[in-house]
């Protein structure tokens, strides 16, 4: 399972790389198995890809497999990001760096806005879904409710609505 390391240095989207390695290269599972497992990991809390790595590792080699998969997935990116954090602490206030970072931060916010838009697009098909999404947005952004409280209020409502919509 230590092989996880090499394949998985994906930028931004780790998922496409992981899919290719798990399904095409190493043949650990079929595409259908991959889709099913990934759908489960998506409906659970946490980063999909780390959940996925843990479940896959656990299936093959138990706890050591899960630990190896997570270490392989996260080891190199963690080292890189902590090095960047050190550089940021040292050079982040230099004028040119600061300007580039301001532009970078603005771009990253825009990127997330676009992603949120793509995710929200299918939500717009149903009025009750839009209501839940707007409610959650308002609770987080305007009322500054904590996330546990937001979930506590929104999840039962959303479960009720989608339970009614689904025969």
């Amino acid at each position: 399972m230590g092989f996880f390391q090499a394949g998985i240095l994906g930028f931004g989207g780790v998922l496409p790389m992981a899919r290719r390695m798990v399904v095409d290269d190493r043949r650990w599972m079929s595409q259908t198995e991959f889709n099913e497992l990934f759908a489960v990991c998506q409906s659970l809390p946490g980063a999909n890809i780390t959940n996925f790595a843990a479940v896959l590792g656990m299936r093959h080699r138990g706890v050591t497999g899960a630990a190896a998969a997570l270490a392989g997935l996260l080891g190199a990116p963690m080292a890189i990001i902590m090095a960047l954090s050190g550089l940021y602490a040292r050079y982040g206030t230099l004028a040119p760096v600061h300007h580039a970072l301001a532009g970078l931060a603005a771009a990253a916010a825009g990127l997330l806005l676009g992603t949120a838009g793509r995710i929200a697009a299918p939500v717009c098909k149903s009025l009750s879904n839009v209501a839940v999404a707007v409610l959650v947005l308002a609770m987080a952004l305007l009322l500054h409710l904590s996330l546990p409280l937001t979930m506590l209020l929104a999840l039962p409502l959303s479960l009720f609505l989608s339970g009614r919509a689904m025969p």
Partner: protein, 172 residues
């Protein structure tokens, strides 16, 4: 030491609330790190988020870079472990159960119910970050352009991030 414990407690909590991925917890993360604990300024938060987004790896790295910024390498490791272990343990447990009841109705209902919540949280996350990052009309323009580009086109995210950084470097 108490700082590491605070980091562990915060990210362990976020881990189990991260429906639809780490991005959904950004509003809560910003609220706690900036306004409750005063670990960093809003602008720093937006910049660290942007750095974690431009580096290779999954987006839980926002926990790593925040932890490292607050408490060095130990902070980065503690925050990352706290962010992934609870949700991974839950995923392993739930998956064991699911192997017995594949395709159950409650699973489809749960997935459908989580979708609008994820959408709302991600939208909130984007607006929180935009509010932190957009200090003038130029940064606002960059944000809007990137939002439109990433919504409409399939341009590589790194291209947009690099473009934003280059514009910042050239125009400010």
């Amino acid at each position: 030491m108490s700082l590491l414990l605070q980091l562990a407690a915060l990210f362990a909590k976020l881990s189990l609330l991260a429906v639809g991925g780490a991005g959904a917890t950004v509003p809560e993360m910003a609220r706690e790190a900036v306004h409750v604990h005063h670990w960093l300024t809003p602008a720093q938060f937006a910049q660290l988020y942007a750095i974690s987004n431009s580096a290779p790896g999954p987006n839980v790295l926002i926990a790593t870079i925040l932890g490292a910024h607050v408490a060095g390498v130990a902070g980065g490791i503690v925050a990352t472990l706290a962010m992934i272990l609870p949700s991974c343990a839950l995923a392993v447990l739930v998956n064991r159960q699911l192997e017995r009841h594949a395709g159950a109705r409650w699973r489809r209902v749960l997935q459908a119910a989580l979708l609008p919540i994820t959408a709302g949280l991600l939208m909130a996350a984007a607006l929180v970050l935009a509010r932190q990052a957009d200090t003038g009309w130029l940064t606002l323009a960059i944000t809007l352009a990137c939002a439109a580009a990433s919504y409409q086109t399939k341009l590589h995210p790194l291209l947009l991030l690099g473009g934003g950084a280059a514009l910042g470097l050239l125009l400010f």
